[in-house]
Symmetry: C2
Subunit: 159 residues, 2 copies
């Protein structure tokens, strides 16, 4: 199968959101996605984009995405965060995930990022094996902490 990796355009966002939704279903949070196509179009493009997106295209359709943005480590300096690496289930095991990750690592190197960070749910063993095969370290002693939108409201009403 042939596919092409390129930077996403505004017009890709409907297909990108579809893959984001598919992942939420897989991660057992089908109702968690509040972002709209319009949000992605506004937030990812223009003068100060909140993220950069690479897409894998085959037969003119988007079958894989990698979404990244800048972060800052107070130990290392500028780093990249890989927010999503998603390949349509029907198109897996054909090198699309690796090709997308290649693009992310090349980009990180080009901007002299000191590290690439991401997060994984600990029962997603295929993803963990894939990441480890690429040289990444899954830090099982480091957990993600979140104060969500309702938590922010509650917090502010208590101070």
């Amino acid at each position: 199968m042939e596919f092409n990796i390129r930077e996403a355009q505004v017009t890709d966002m409907p297909e990108v959101l579809k893959l984001i939704n598919d992942l939420a279903v897989f991660e057992k949070e089908p109702d968690a996605v509040e972002v709209t196509v319009k949000d992605l179009e506004q937030d990812g493009f223009g003068d100060n984009p909140a993220f950069k997106c690479f897409v894998a295209v085959t037969n003119k359709t988007v079958q894989g995405i990698a979404i990244i943005y800048n972060r800052y480590s107070t130990w290392k300096g500028k780093i990249i965060h890989l927010e999503d690496l998603i390949v349509n289930e029907a198109y897996r095991h054909q090198g699309i995930g690796t090709a997308l990750l290649n693009e992310v690592v090349k980009y990180a190197s080009s901007i002299k990022a000191k590290r690439i960070n991401w997060e994984v749910i600990d029962w997603n063993e295929p993803a963990i094996s894939f990441y480890e095969s690429k040289g990444a370290t899954v830090m099982r002693d480091w957990d993600v902490v979140q104060l969500n939108e309702q938590g922010i409201k509650n917090y502010l009403s208590n101070i």
Copy 2:
């Protein structure tokens, strides 16, 4: 004890780096900090700062810091990442950590951030208790993944 919370200035960075180093020692990675005062001065200020820093000041010295920056959730939209929340050990249990976190949550709310994210090492029970007491969720099934600087080099030499 009286203290004052304010946004950091460039001239605070030597004291800020000292607290960053103290935390690395506590987290058993005393040699992990590669960032210099000059890096913090260049990266945190100017036209496109990579982070924002709040400091807690008492007797004209910085005894606590909170460092944040923007991230993007493809489920929720714009979110804030809390990279570091550090209080000098000798100044703990006097409300400085809470006062710094208050400032972060107020800031997140002011820019309509949908969530505040951070990371915690799973044996740091005092930190976990503190975060949970503030309404945050420690997601023990979500792990941090990293491809470090050497990992990026190795990766690129293999494609």
